[in-house]
Symmetry: C2
Subunit: 334 residues, 2 copies
């Protein structure tokens, strides 16, 4: 709280010049070991900490990257944040986190203010950031999009989960465990939701189940999920692939209300393999995105861009299926 000691104070305390202190602190080989030690001790003694602002101003880079997420309430996103942080840390970068509390305008504001800080790069883990905001941002610093944006933005790198394939994994699993009437639960028209829906329909057709394609979309139907489910059950649909874990749990809840049991009466597959999936009853079979990889790759892209790469790069990561209790075990042919 009392005014912070500077390099000049260290110099005075160690009886050397200002610049020598700087050299010693950053381990320049041209400083005699004994001198260096004396300086380090002096710094320690007066509680000196390098002023990051001043250094950044001088160096022209901050060693800071920003991460933007829509909301802290989405565990899938926060896990990606953690993996970005780990990768950043091992590259010597610190991470500043900003979120928009599900508010698009606020999100834009947070992006701008992060950039005003003079970040070295930005990782966006939110499909809600508008393309033109991304575009503008990319003119100020390298930007990597994790997940889909509303549309591809030139100048912005991306690392994506293969949502079509994730949906296919779910459909294949349900099919292999004896189901044919497999419905999709999803009321989102965001990029990821759409990709999963398309992936579902395509996988159904590939499995020869095109005739059974059915989407429970509470938004379009303007009916409760419970009503939609009851009707689907009547029609013999005993398997459901939900757009994410939350919708999967909502479905299980609805099933409970009509006394249908999971997985005996209906099988359910979620998406995201979130903490919810692991702790729900029954534990949820779910498509898992490789979060730790997504984060690491995002930082890689940032670093190579900072190093001067000019062309855009888009990475696609393959998800995998985690089987738990909300679907039947695989039926061995006998």
């Amino acid at each position: 709280m009392t005014s912070r000691p500077t390099i000049r104070d260290v110099a005075a305390h160690a009886g050397v010049s200002k610049s020598l202190v700087s050299l010693a602190l950053r381990g320049d080989p041209g400083v005699r070991e004994r001198t260096r030690e004396r300086i380090l001790l002096a710094a320690e003694a007066i509680g000196y900490r390098s002023n990051v602002l001043a250094r950044s101003l001088r160096e022209g880079r901050t060693m800071l990257i920003g991460v933007v997420i829509s909301s802290l309430e989405n565990p899938y996103h926060t896990e990606i944040v953690t993996s970005v942080e780990e990768a950043a840390e091992s590259a010597g970068l610190s991470v500043l986190l900003a979120h928009g509390s599900r508010d698009r305008g606020k999100l834009t504001g947070r992006v701008e203010s992060l950039l005003d800080l003079g970040l070295d790069g930005l990782v966006v883990v939110s499909s809600w950031v508008e393309p033109q905001v991304l575009r503008r941002a990319a003119r100020r610093a390298p930007v990597v999009m994790v997940g889909r944006s509303e549309r591809p933005v030139p100048g912005v790198d991306a690392v994506n989960n293969d949502d079509e394939h994730g949906a296919a994994l779910a459909v294949q699993h349900l099919h292999a465990t004896g189901h044919t009437r497999i419905a999709h639960v999803g009321s989102s028209y965001r990029p990821a939701g759409l990709a999963r829906r398309h992936g579902y329909a395509a996988a159904m057709r590939r499995a020869g189940l095109g005739a059974y394609v059915r989407v429970l979309d509470a938004f379009v139907a303007d009916e409760g999920l419970g009503t939609l489910l009851a009707r689907a059950l009547e029609d013999g649909y005993d398997a459901y692939f939900a757009r994410n874990d939350v919708e999967a749990l909502d479905l299980i809840d609805a099933a409970d209300h009509v006394a249908a049991r999971v997985p005996d009466d209906l099988a359910v597959v979620g998406y995201d393999d979130s903490a919810l999936a692991r702790r729900s009853r029954p534990r949820l079979t779910s498509v898992q995105q490789r979060r730790e990889l997504l984060g690491r790759r995002a930082v890689d892209l940032l670093l190579s861009r900072i190093d001067g790469r000019a062309e855009d790069q888009h990475l696609i990561m393959e998800p995998r299926l985690i089987v738990r209790d909300s679907t039947r075990p695989r039926t061995d042919p006998d």
Copy 2:
């Protein structure tokens, strides 16, 4: 990405001096309106953005505060973060968020690196930050602790939830809905957990139920919660107050395994009123901490400390009980 325009570029473009640009940008009344407009237009035209680093270096304050949380996975904490942000924003401060992913050493590191950035203040929403780290931090910038730290730290302000009272609310509610054998579920020896346990025991005694005080502590007992619950049910315990929502849901899960129904066979009260409480089955009765207030007060404390307040301040906020389906409705005397 091309080198950022500076105040000097704006000056050249508008045909005025560097300092005039600065004055105009910050709305100094001594600049003629027409001139100011011309300068603003010039800034706009060349895409000028003030360099926050340079300004902070000059001004000696960053208008940035840091918020530290243990982990992004705790929704109770992230909601406080959001409320801190809102309060900070209306005071013209930006928030930098750091978390420790449940790792104590990492948490310390994050605190240090935030402070190295020259923050104007720090809000700590984690009981895991060590007292000596808090102490050291408080010498560098104002620090406010939200929630309990392991012990009070001189120089650090605090805003707390009244956990003893929260526990009492739970006990009173269970008692008022016809229960007398009320057990506590909690295996945490962190500050908040201890306070809730003490509050529970005290409230039981005040209600004349001291003889029924019983704690299901899977950690000390070194037995599964299921076993502890089964035994308690045998002993007639039909009401449970859990240290937090997660433990409450674990209990409901355990009850399910022994085919005991909530709230018919046993009533359950959680703590935190997290998103989990709202979406579980049955919806959980839970003690709610006033998150939005906690955040606002924390920022108030920071601001008054920045303004020079010297003495420490500790605020205590009262929680309230949110009644849902995991406890019986209040029994009207008839």
